[in-house]
Symmetry: C2
DNA sequence: GTCTATACAGGGATAGAC
DNA sequence: GTCTATCCCTGTATAGAC
């Protein structure tokens, strides 16, 4: 009887959350219908209500899950681009570009992308990208309970800033960066290399050409290194 | 008979657009009802449909008007803070703080603010702020015709970037800034001093303490001056 | 016993009619 | 200015199927 409990087959529950991410991302919270979510999941509407008390509960559950998933995916990209650091500037540019692609790409079906890429499979954003769901959340921010919104921010953006700050501290210890406040440096890097693209594309709603993504990422990294680059690297 | 023509008393039309800005900003596009807009304007619902063909037309009309108004208001703030420029750093900080207040403040009724302040009266954002309407537009971005969205961006954010770039070029000519690409510098200033606050507050939906706005503005200006400050100013 | 399919009650919205 | 036609959506109830 527990509405949000573990009733029913877990595979059905996963199909519902995945379908909800697709439909909420595509239509937004208010326009999305529970009928459409049930159809996308290949499940009866009654089954949806068997696993989730109502539309809002389903949306908030999917939002929190997506936030944590995107943080993990971003942390993997960070490690792949910043840990080797044979070329710091190139690593910072690569991470900016890959992050923009991961968050903002619409996941167009015409381009299969890299099918064998690990870490990107089975997540909530198999079709539509995390950006679409993030847009739906931002659109409903005024109607989301404060504690849930705080949990979403903490599990996603804030945790990612912490991950990035840890990397910057490690780079500073190796003499490649000069940072007093690693958290501030992480925020400035994110603003200079990512938020310009996010804002221009309205968090993935409007496509931005790859060429321009690369241009903005390079300009952002150059500005960041003027603030925090070690003298040897800055030149 | 022209739906969007100048039928009816212009005062009624202004009352409708102002009411629409209030209600759309408060409730968002989908949740806002034409009944509530008519009631807020103090006119009959029939009068609303007499001036605007339908809900979408009204929304897009108000969006474009608000975009142009916010651009003018921001340009005034820019001139007031950056033209004297007895202290460049202080001027850049003041503009960042005033801009954040103008865009993101919820216009709480308990604080009458500065009643005699010129330029802020009679606009669409008398109650609720331009940020609230901007949030409603961003929430509906996927459902707005591409040409209208482009016009909104051009009349608001892009025009403001151009205004700021012109100021930076003047400051560079006076030897206070070092900029190769004034447009890029304007974008970096906006990112470093404004977008962090906008994102943290979700474009005005969640309040940010004045103290923190000031802190972020100062840190952003310091970073900006490390990139573009003239050597005499940078120290 | 859980899932599917469908039908239905209740509320609210837009847009038009009187 | 009020009143109403029409549609859509959430959430529930009623059937039967693996």
């Amino acid at each position: 009887m527990a509405a949000t409990g573990g009733a029913g087959r877990p595979e059905k529950r996963r199909a519902i959350t995945r379908a909800a991410a697709v439909v909420f991302g595509r239509e937004g919270y208010l326009r999305a219908g529970m009928d459409a979510i049930a159809a996308e999941a290949g499940v009866s509407k009654r089954t949806v209500y068997n696993h989730f008390a109502d539309k809002e509960t389903l949306f908030l559950s999917v939002a929190l899950q997506s936030s944590a998933e995107l943080r993990e995916r971003t942390r993997d990209l960070m490690a792949a681009c910043l840990d080797p650091a044979v070329d710091l500037r190139q690593g910072l540019v690569d991470f900016a570009v890959e992050r923009a692609r991961a968050v903002l790409s619409a996941g167009e079906p015409g381009t299969p992308g890299t099918p064998g890429e690990p870490g990107g499979q089975g997540g909530l954003a198999a079709h539509g990208g995390h950006g679409a769901l993030g847009r739906a959340i931002r659109a409903e921010v005024a109607n989301i309970p404060a504690d849930v919104l705080e949990a979403w921010v903490e599990a996603g953006p804030t945790a990612t800033l912490r991950d990035l700050a840890a990397h910057f501290e490690a780079l500073a210890a190796r003499g490649l960066l000069v940072v007093e406040d690693a958290g501030l440096a992480a925020e400035q890097y994110t603003l200079l290399t990512f938020h310009g693209i996010a804002e221009r594309s309205f968090w993935g709603a409007v496509p931005v050409p790859d060429e321009e993504v690369g241009r903005i990422a390079e300009a952002g990294v150059d500005a960041f290194l003027r603030i925090h680059g070690a003298p040897a690297v800055r030149s």
